[in-house]
């Protein structure tokens, strides 16, 4: 048994997430990963935007910053640049990160600034009641796409890679050990590390798409999220409708705050 209590803000529990919402599963995976890596709670800063997932800061007992919708990465950039010794963890939703926050997302990735971004992809705007997000798959229903969504979704992880991220992984809350492992790897990387986590929103996504039972959504993840070797052995046809998980990129690139540190050395800091 893992003792979550020392990491959480017990007084805020039970949390606001719906029954069967995957957000709590991610939070627990994060806590375990931080614990194993012995991340100092005083030096860890969680920054989130607005959304169900972005309520995570209320529940974890580290430094926490719940900012404006879509802007978590901008605030986090300020925090990290100002005090590089802090461990910055960004928690964001698919809407927060890839809709309104899309610009900060690609720029933080481009700069390769050291932070771990947990993108809770539940394919929907959960908090506001189920509108389309840029990750809602085509044909799926949402409160603003009641005839079925006509827009193609982002490949969010692919976008982060194209923008310059040095570590990108995709995982899901059914495969909860993999989820923890990906978070753990991301926390260990120096640079912009993204973990896209597929997670069920039975209330706002499931309900409109014949998956209002959280169990069904978990089964869907079990059956469709395919990692590593398995994925490679699938034919193009077999991949159809399936989602690749695991580490998608892991390269070394100059990191922003380190580069700035070099600049300061170069110009010579005067007292």
């Amino acid at each position: 048994m893992f003792d979550y209590l020392k990491y959480i803000r017990e007084w805020n529990f039970p949390h606001i997430w719906c029954s069967g919402c995957g957000d709590g599963i991610v939070l627990k995976a994060l806590i375990r990963a931080m614990d194993k890596l012995k991340v100092s709670r005083d030096e860890a800063v969680m920054v989130s935007g607005i959304g169900c997932s972005s309520r995570t800061p209320g529940y974890i007992d580290i430094n926490t910053l719940h900012t404006t919708h879509g802007r978590a990465l901008a605030f986090a950039t300020g925090v990290k640049h100002a005090k590089p010794e802090l461990k910055v963890i960004v928690v964001t939703g698919d809407g927060d990160c890839t809709a309104i926050g899309g610009n900060h997302f690609i720029h933080a990735a481009r700069r390769n600034i050291d932070m771990t971004v947990l993108l809770y992809n539940n394919y929907i705007y959960g908090m506001t009641g189920g509108q389309c997000s840029p990750t809602t798959p085509k044909g799926y229903k949402a409160s603003t796409a009641q005839y079925g969504n006509i827009e193609p979704p982002f490949n969010t992880s692919g976008l982060a890679i194209a923008a310059g991220a040095s570590f990108v992984a995709r995982t899901d809350v059914y495969h909860v050990q993999q989820c923890e492992k990906m978070i753990s790897l991301a926390l260990q990387r120096k640079g912009f590390s993204l973990v896209e986590i597929l997670t069920p929103c039975p209330t706002a996504f499931g309900r409109r798409n014949r998956m209002s039972d959280p169990v069904v959504m978990m089964e869907w993840l079990r059956d469709n999220a395919v990692s590593g070797r398995k994925w490679e052995n699938l034919s193009a046809q077999e991949r159809e409708g399936k989602i690749q998980t695991g580490v998608l990129i892991d390269v070394e690139k100059p990191e922003f705050t380190a580069e700035y540190g070099k600049l300061m050395e170069k110009v010579g800091v005067q007292k």
Binding site: R9, N12, R41, D42, E43, V45, V47, I50, P57, G58, D61, I62, N63, T64, L65, H66, T67, T68, R71, L73, A74, F75, A76, T77, G78, V79, H81, A82, K83, E85, L86, N103, H104, H107, Y260, L263, M264, V267, G268, V269, Q270
Partner: protein
């Protein structure tokens, strides 16, 4: 350069004076996005900050710049951003966040003509009401202004001091003329500059409540990473910093945010006056227009008109009391502005319509000249 231990006289642009003042005040973080006529502030700091162990970053847009500024401030660095009208509009949401979460920072807006892209290279004072009301939701904010490079240097320092003292964003409104005029600035010795640094908690972490305030209504926010773990949110929150739906608490929070500034208005409000003692007409002017008004006062006096000047260096909270006090003594006010009367309406309210408040307005991107003011005074007196 303001580090050397004797006062120095230098020629600088208003925008540079702002940057130099920021450094003197202890600013060690700047996040910005270029825009005319403010860009020189960023350019100067991009050179100077790394030399002083400070952090500069050009963000992807103004929203991000405002967010990064707030994030940096929470770590304890004094932080600033600078922009002009279009960027100021974009920053509004996050300025509201800084108000709500009580994070000190300085936002400079070097005003140009608007609305929209308007007149990018020409001066205006059109964002004066926006500085007060630009973000959604009830709040109160401190807004300073300056009329010369020297004044810009000093008001920038004051902006940081007020921000740190009252734990609130402070806006500094310059105009293109002030920002782009190069003139003499006397930099005092660093040791002679009054510097305010935000308080840090003294109790043990387990007793710490970030938004619990004493009678001064000002919270003490620990620097991130200093061992006090707390939560910051733009939602209505209680003393602990966690969101709450308790309506009584929410009312108290919003009223405190407003009262924290109103209650200290006497400490905040500042103005300069010239020949108000026997004035029959008060010219109320700020920014570069105050310079013309100064000349105009001299010229009026030469003509035998007893004119005086009221130059607020703090626009918000508006100096209602001070302006009202004059209303019993003078025959009229004249408010020359490079807008259509944005502060004239405040002057009118302050004097409770007891004396006539005349306006002289220009919105063509040209400065208001001393002569125009004199003519207007003659016309209305």
């Amino acid at each position: 350069m303001e580090k050397s231990e004797s006062s120095t006289t230098l020629m600088m642009q208003g925008n540079q004076a702002c940057a130099v003042g920021a450094l003197a005040a202890g600013c060690r973080f700047f996040a910005g996005y270029p825009i005319t006529p403010s860009s020189e502030i960023a350019e100067y700091l991009s050179v100077q900050l790394p030399r002083r162990g400070g952090k500069f970053i050009q963000m992807e847009d103004e929203i991000a710049a405002m967010g990064a500024t707030i994030g940096a401030s929470l770590t304890g660095l004094k932080a600033m951003t600078a922009t002009s009208g279009p960027g100021f509009s974009l920053k509004q949401e996050n300025i509201g966040y800084a108000c709500m979460t009580e994070v000190p920072c300085v936002i400079v807006n070097v005003m140009r003509g608007g609305p929209s892209t308007g007149m990018p290279t020409l001066p205006a004072q059109m964002d004066v009401q926006q500085a007060r009301w630009g973000t959604h939701g009830d709040h109160e904010i401190i807004v300073l202004t300056a009329s010369s490079a020297q004044d810009t240097y000093e008001q920038t320092i004051r902006a940081f001091n007020l921000s740190e003292r009252y734990m609130t964003p402070v806006i500094l409104l310059l105009d293109e003329i002030v920002g782009h005029s190069t003139e003499k600035v006397v930099l005092p010795r660093q040791s002679e500059i009054e510097i305010v640094n935000r308080k840090q908690p003294e109790m043990p972490p387990q007793d710490y409540l970030p938004y619990k305030t004493g009678p001064d209504l000002i919270p003490v926010l620990a620097n991130l990473g200093s061992g006090y773990r707390y939560n910051v949110t733009g939602l209505c929150h209680d003393e602990t910093g966690f969101p709450t739906n308790d309506t009584r608490n929410n009312e108290a929070l919003i009223r405190r945010l407003v009262e924290k500034i109103k209650a200290h208005r006497d400490d905040i409000v500042r103005y300069r006056e010239r020949k108000l003692d026997d004035a029959e007409i008060v010219i109320f002017a700020y920014g570069s227009v105050a310079r013309s008004a100064k000349s105009a006062v001299v010229k009026c006096r030469e003509k035998g008109i007893r004119a005086g000047l009221f130059e607020p260096s703090v626009i918000w909270p508006f100096p209602v009391k001070e302006v009202f006090a004059l209303s019993g003594k003078v025959k009229a006010f004249l408010v020359p502005e490079m807008n259509l009367g944005q502060l004239a309406r405040e002057v009118r309210g302050a004097v409770e319509f007891k004396v006539p408040v005349h306006q002289l307005n220009r919105v063509d991107g040209n400065p208001i000249t001393p002569l125009e003011i004199v003519n207007k005074v003659e016309e209305v007196i």
